[in-house]
Amino acid sequence: MPAQVITITSGKGGVGKTTAVANLAVGLALEGAKVVCIDGDIGLRNLDVILGLENRIVYDIVDVIEGRCRLKQAMIRDKKLPELYLIPAAQTRDKNAVSPSDMNRLIKDLRNDCDFVLIDSPAGIERGFKNAIAAADRVLVITNPEVSAVRDADRVIGILEAEGKGPGALIINRLNPTLVKNHNMLSADDVLDLLAVELIGVVPEDENVIISSNRGAPVAFDSKSKAGQAFRNIAKRLRGEKVPFLDLDHTGGLWQQLQRLTGRK
């Protein structure tokens, strides 16, 4: 079966795109899928660091596109998961080194060779973003429960609709149940109310995410972390499994709300 190509994007920077790509890739690979992730943030590469593969980079995506190496040579195999690969971004070029049609050709070559291609999009809605969504079958929009991030997500969803990439599915990242309960943070409900798209996961705020990112071992490896659990669940949903949403506030309220909202579609 040809691979599913999934782009993770957000509009706003710093909401967790790269972290999400790394963790979903790990989650999918733990489930036994063959996954290739592509760092689309040319000039500001990060995904290699979070996956802990920085020191193995020889060739990057621009080398492939400009014909300096074969695709296979730029695919770096993960340390722990033999079915997980990274195609890193070039650090010394910029977004214009790649065009949407370059991406389409690259992905076409990958499609028959793996189960999932995950593309990490740069922040913004310019060239890099257009590159990242060019070949996507499905787009995941990630946001934080903050007014500014939600506003940018709304803009991105609008562009996706205009480009015929569908409304996408939503990941709400870094939700803090205590703040929500005290009405100091937007709830998942509030965010969905505005964006009106399918929700595919809610990831709670968890300091282990930062710790593990710095170590180069994504939190999805950590069986005790709630954020890790949330990412693994999203990975399962991407594979088509029905997984209930995590009960984040221990009362069952959120889960029921989410169920109601996602059922609404």
Binding site: D94, A97, P100, S101, R151, G158, I159, E161, E163, L194
Partner: protein, 227 residues
């Protein structure tokens, strides 16, 4: 706006600049273009550039080089127009447009209608998301929400059958009798003619409201009552 020097012509288009080159050697033209760009940085900064290369035959490395050099200067090359099929193919390979007549996907739409009668309205059956701007020389009716960051500018009335959280300007050409209605009127800002109002706290249980300019000349919203 028009600039000439010996080799290149620059013309302002509706959505960017059109640079026309002639058949002089490519290297000369490239240098001439970059020199021109460097001498007028403020003018070119952030520009969208279409390039008409006449019958030049260009290959990938040449176009890539120019594209990168332009991009270093904050200019995005989006189209290359050529009489040469080789160059056209190269441009397509790089994901560049080869025609400029085709409008790029527009989010900011300006609708104009000829012979506008008093009852002309634009009906939109979708949610207007952040970044969308609708301008219309009549009434606007939206069946859906208007999200924060979306804008509607209408010369007539604006009716939102949904939640209004963005910006709406009714009576934009000065009609002070224009009204704005919404099922949930919680905009970031409302304007009618020259009056501006930053409204209101969102309510727990929203009810349909209508905003208009009252007798004292103030923009005011009140609950909508039939009849």
């Amino acid at each position: 706006m028009s600039e000439t020097n010996s080799l290149i012509q620059i013309k302002g288009l509706r959505d960017g600049l059109l640079v026309s080159l002639d058949d002089a050697p490519w290297e000369e033209q490239r240098v001439a273009l970059l020199t021109q760009v460097d001498s007028q940085q403020a003018f070119f900064q952030g520009a969208r550039l279409a390039l008409d290369v006449a019958s030049q035959v260009l290959h990938v490395n040449e176009l890539v080089e120019l594209r990168d050099q332009l991009s270093e200067r904050g200019i995005s090359l989006w189209a290359v127009i050529s009489e040469s099929p080789t160059t056209e193919k190269t441009a397509q390979l790089l994901g560049l447009a080869t025609r400029i007549s085709k409008p790029r996907p527009e989010e900011n739409r300006h609708f104009s209608v000829e012979n506008l009668g008093e009852e002309t309205a634009l009906f939109l059956s979708r949610t207007l998301r952040s970044g969308t701007r609708i301008e219309f020389a009549g009434h606007v009716v939206v069946l859906g929400d208007v999200n924060p960051g979306a804008e509607i500018v209408a010369e007539g009335n604006v009716i939102i059958w949904g939640r209004l959280r963005g910006m709406v300007h009714a009576g934009a050409k000065g009609n002070r009798n224009a009204i704005i209605c919404a099922l949930d009127l919680s905009p970031t800002q409302l304007r009618i003619a020259e009056e501006v109002s930053a409204i209101l706290k969102p309510r727990e249980n929203p009810e349909p409201e209508m905003a208009r300019i009252n007798k004292d000349g103030k923009l005011q919203a009140e609950l909508w009552s039939p009849g």
